[in-house]
């Protein structure tokens, strides 16, 4: 016999109104606690307090961000493609031919710092269940990673663990990893960013709802048993600042003891269980056995029950002692707060419970009926017959809303005035060559194979493009060639200089990356990584970034379908750069017409065309960062109309088959784009610069390294030059031939030449030298 943990009951709470409760320790303010008491008309029980504390945490309630996020829906451009928008587990987009796609990106930053492998692994697991809960089969993942300085000791602890966790969980789950990002900056030293994206595909009719409707319907918890792992993960880890020193490598390393103390709050993943859960859910959906479904993520059973009840008929009765446990000593508060992984909750008609349990048994998935749907507007929970929770579910699901003070940071003016125009620039061939190699070998731009080789990009057999391409591209239908493209982008430096413009640049780059595969961008997801919302300067950045995103999406004609906010990304009082990471989804009409970034050798040689306009824009550039450690001035100007025209041209040119390759210009400008296209295709090129060109270039340095937006290089299929020019004119995209593909070096005529071998060596050696 196991001893039953005595619980704080509703009756006892009514009889002991003065009993002090640890609401501050659970992250609730005195006002929030008072609001709970007011709602209930008594003090909450221990279980209720646990439930409200996690539901009202920043991570779950969006209490500081909600007032801003509303404009993402309010300003969203009209889109016929949107089947389900913001507010669901993930947005759902119609891609035609009866298919729908759902995708979302989410942060797992704080757990990944405390315990890199499990933190990153369970980040993948969590976002996969979000997609699964929509009714879709998850088909791919991506990840956007940001760490402190590449050479820092703590980065060598965190990065291999994070990559290993993503590799282990994603590979074992059988999802191809088709892209993402890797960048380094001192601002992430004590607070790495681990953002995971998942995409799923379904038929239109397969959409599932997260609602507990139909009184008498049974509530089934299935998947892993509930343990003590991750208790309060959302409230303890993701909704507060890590203490400890800031800045130097030594300080970051000495943060480890503080991190160790939080380790019990990190969840532990079991990708095999998740694989079974995926197959089990898809079989349950196909058999029509599910009325409503919700994944268990942050705030576990507390969140799943309150959200299902609040969205459904209005009530639910739960027997907490029926929850299968892997640690018998857990009581109601722990069961409600546990973030044990690989769990789902379904609402099932009573007559179909037997069939439901049989499917679970086939897949060796544990399942237990733990309650039923009611229509009394109350969420009640019992523990061995005694009532321990009795609340109106909407009161927990909706939570408080704050409009926190926001004010432009005091250092913003000085930052904007520190123009990179004052930095010394290379003016001769040797200097330009050295700058290119320095950039190409810098950790943020170097070959990422050390990371991406650890991910399976082949599984499921539909991966058409993956890293290091501009975007990932998946085939959805083998007979028609219909496919989807995805890209994520973030740029903390641009956003630090101007969060409104920076966020638009980030959106535009993801949009351009998708377009560069030949796909048409359709929809947007976002993961907003910021410092503490209690800091007015951070709140100012957040407000500007959300406005920038909403306005940018309106200008580009792509709606935001969902996303995630991660606050408290700071160490002590120092926040990370504001780092919104934006994911863009596009549809490709025929993946056989995809465009790769790689140049291809051939006779006659293909010409290289630079599309877009180049100005001298170096604020927040890779050149300023890598060569001078400089961050200041203004970021490049977003050119959203030009982005739209460029994307239209690329889609049309891909469909017509007039292009051989396309690569967007971003970090490091034309120089890096040329180098990457040469390396990908293992062939050189000869490019002519200002001495022989009229037009926008003012000097070779600007031509090579400026980061002006809305640009790409393409190579034109020999013989199709006139057809491409006609398309370019029709789409009103400026462009000029800047060279030809061929040879075994990257040659910039009259300035410098780099052998492919040297280029490849410089590109390849950086990450292995750092991480082994």
């Amino acid at each position: 016999m196991t001893a039953v943990t005595a619980a704080d009951t509703v009756a006892r709470a009514g009889a002991t109104p003065e009993q002090p409760q640890p609401y501050l320790e659970l992250g609730l303010t005195a006002e929030e606690y008072g609001r709970i008491v007011g709602t209930l008309g008594r003090r909450p029980t221990g279980a209720e307090l646990a439930l409200y504390s996690v539901m009202w945490s920043e991570h779950c309630s969006y209490k500081s961000s909600k007032v801003y996020l509303r404009q993402l829906a309010a300003k969203a451009p009209p889109s016929a493609a949107l089947l389900a928008g913001i507010g669901h587990n993930a947005g759902v987009v119609d891609i035609g031919q009866g298919y729908a796609v759902t995708f979302k990106i989410e942060s797992h930053n704080h757990p990944s710092y405390v315990e890199p492998l499990q933190g990153a692994a369970t980040g993948v697991g969590g976002i996969v269940r979000d997609i699964l809960a929509m009714g879709a089969r998850p088909v791919a993942v991506m990840d956007a990673l940001r760490f402190g300085p590449a050479a820092a000791a703590d980065t060598r602890r965190v990065l291999p663990g994070v990559v290993g966790g993503i590799s282990w969980y994603g590979n074992c789950l059988g999802l191809p990893n088709i892209g993402g990002e890797l960048d380094f900056d001192p601002c992430y030293a004590g607070n790495p960013l681990v953002n995971a994206l998942c995409v799923g595909v379904m038929r239109h009719g397969d959409l599932q709802v997260a609602a507990a409707s139909g009184p008498g319907n049974q509530v089934i918890l299935f998947g892993s048993a509930t343990g003590p792992d991750g208790i309060g993960g959302a409230s303890v880890l993701a909704s507060a600042v890590f203490g400890g020193p800031v800045g130097s490598d030594a300080a970051a390393a000495s943060d480890a003891p503080a991190a160790a103390a939080k380790r019990p709050s990190v969840q532990v993943g079991d990708p095999f269980e998740e694989k079974l859960l995926v197959e089990c859910c898809l079989e349950l959906y196909a058999a029509g056995l599910v009325v409503g479904i919700q994944d268990l993520g942050a705030a576990g059973v507390a969140c799943a029950t309150t959200e299902l009840a609040a969205a459904g008929t209005g009530g639910m009765r739960v027997r907490l002692d029926a929850v299968p446990l892997r640690e018998a000593s857990l009581g109601p508060p722990e069961i409600l707060m546990s973030e044990s992984q690989e769990r789902m909750m379904a609402v099932v008609e009573p007559a179909r419970v037997g069939e439901f349990l049989a499917v679970c048994a086939k897949w060796d998935v544990r399942a237990a009926v733990i309650g039923e749907v009611t229509d009394d507007g109350r969420l009640t929970m019992t523990w061995h017959g005694e009532e321990v929770v009795d609340i109106p579910p909407a009161s927990a699901a909706e939570g408080p809303v704050y409009r926190r003070p926001a004010a432009r940071g005091p250092d913003c003016d000085a930052l904007a005035a520190d123009d990179p125009a004052a930095l010394p620039r290379p003016a001769d061939g040797a200097g330009l060559r050295a700058a290119l190699l320095a950039l190409l070998g810098s950790p943020g731009l170097a070959d990422k194979s050390w990371v991406t080789e650890q991910y399976d990009r082949y599984v499921r057999g539909d991966t058409v493009l993956a890293m290091p391409e501009d975007g990932g591209l998946l085939r959805v239908d083998e007979s028609t060639g219909l496919g989807i493209a995805l890209a994520t982008d973030g740029n903390g430096r641009y956003c630090r200089l101007d969060p409104y413009l920076g966020t638009q640049l980030v959106l535009a780059e993801a949009y351009r990356n998708v377009a560069a595969t030949g796909a048409r961008p359709l929809a947007v997801t976002n993961c907003l990584n910021f410092g503490s919302p209690e800091d007015p300067a951070v709140m100012f950045q957040f407000a500007a970034a959300v406005s920038g995103l909403a306005d940018g999406c309106a200008a580009l004609g792509v709606p935001v379908t969902g996303g995630n906010v991660s606050f408290y990304n700071q160490t002590g009082t120092t926040a990370i750069h504001p780092t919104p990471v934006v994911g863009v989804l596009g549809v490709h009409d025929d993946v056989r017409r995809r465009l790769s970034i790689g140049f291809s050798a051939g006779a006659p040689a293909a010409s290289i065309v630079l599309l877009g306009e180049t100005d001298a824009e170096f604020g927040g550039s890779a050149w300023a960062h890598v060569l001078h450690g400089h961050l200041g001035g203004r970021p490049p100007a977003p050119r959203l109309d030009a982005e739209r025209r460029l994307a239209g041209l690329l889609a049309a040119a891909a469909a017509d088959g007039v292009l051989l390759a396309a690569h967007d210009l971003s970090d490091g400008g034309l120089a890096i784009a040329l180098a990457e296209s040469c390396l990908r295709g293992r062939v050189g090129c000869v490019v002519r610069l200002p001495s022989s060109l009229a037009g926008p270039f003012t000097d070779p340095f600007t031509a090579l390294f400026s980061e002006s937006a809305a640009r790409a290089i393409v190579t034109v299929r020999p013989g199709a030059e006139a057809a491409f020019d006609a398309l370019r004119d029709a789409h009103e995209v400026p462009g000029e031939v800047i060279g030809t593909v061929g040879g075994d070096s990257l040659a910039v005529d009259g300035w410098f030449l780099i052998d492919l071998e040297e280029l490849a060596a410089v590109h390849a050696r950086t990450l292995p030298a750092l991480f082994g």
């Binding site: 282990w168 095999f272 057999g461 085939r475």
Partner: protein
């Protein structure tokens, strides 16, 4: 030609193996780990993945699946059997093939398109290739280092049972760069690289992997 593809809990490349069979002109037949039934198929593929999570030694639990009893008997009677990656590991654990697969030399999972050399074209699964032919096929595994005792290795080499070898890069540190082996009769073949991911240049590095599936189908048609 009906070719069974076994799904164990945690199998991942079963769908890809079935597609490869289809592309090569065969009919894939799903087989379930819990059934003691091969459904009358003409050949069987054990696909890649992480059976039972591979939390114990890779393949160590899957070898006890009910379907493996039938498979072992049928393999003994000459049924063509191909184990890919986790399937190779299972065949080794089941002693249908000699040796074992251990952690990669670099201790990290490696996904890489590799040049392989076909060393034995007389097996049920490699007859479509020429001896010495080089093919490009992806490898993706964390425990792909082939090991065996010196006597077994010498025996494998002497009897021509090394079927596939890494031609240039040996990224997991396999003994003698061995990527795949067969049993004495040549009907059971296991390899770590994934030919089912090289059936089209759209979704793989080449279509070089098709030969494995075409081999067994051609033999079935002729036989």
């Amino acid at each position: 030609m009906r070719i069974g593809v076994i799904t164990f809990p945690g199998s991942l490349d079963d769908r890809d193996a079935a597609r490869a069979v289809r592309v090569a002109g065969g009919e894939p037949v799903p087989l379930w780990h819990g059934d003691r039934d091969l459904r009358g198929v003409d050949a069987v593929i054990l696909p890649g993945g992480f059976s039972y999570g591979d939390y114990l030694r890779c393949g160590a639990i899957a070898r006890f699946a009910p379907v493996m009893g039938e498979l072992t008997a049928a393999a003994g009677a000459g049924l063509p059997v191909l184990g890919i990656c986790n399937g190779f590991q299972i065949l080794c654990e089941a002693h249908l093939l000699p040796g074992a697969l251990t952690r990669n030399a670099g201790l990290r999972f490696v996904t890489r398109d590799l040049r392989l050399r076909v060393e034995n074209e007389r097996t049920a699964w490699t007859s479509a290739y020429r001896r010495g032919e080089q093919i490009v096929v992806p490898l993706k595994s964390g425990e792909g280092a082939y090991v065996a005792d010196p006597g077994t290795l010498a025996d494998l080499e002497a009897s021509g049972r090394v079927v596939i070898r890494y031609a240039e890069d040996n990224p997991n540190g396999s003994a003698a760069a061995i990527a795949g082996v067969c049993n004495a009769e040549g009907n059971v073949v296991g390899l770590m690289p994934h030919p089912e991911h090289a059936v089209s240049s759209l979704t793989g590095p080449s279509a070089d992997g098709l030969g494995f599936f075409a081999s067994v189908i051609a033999a079935g048609v002729l036989g």
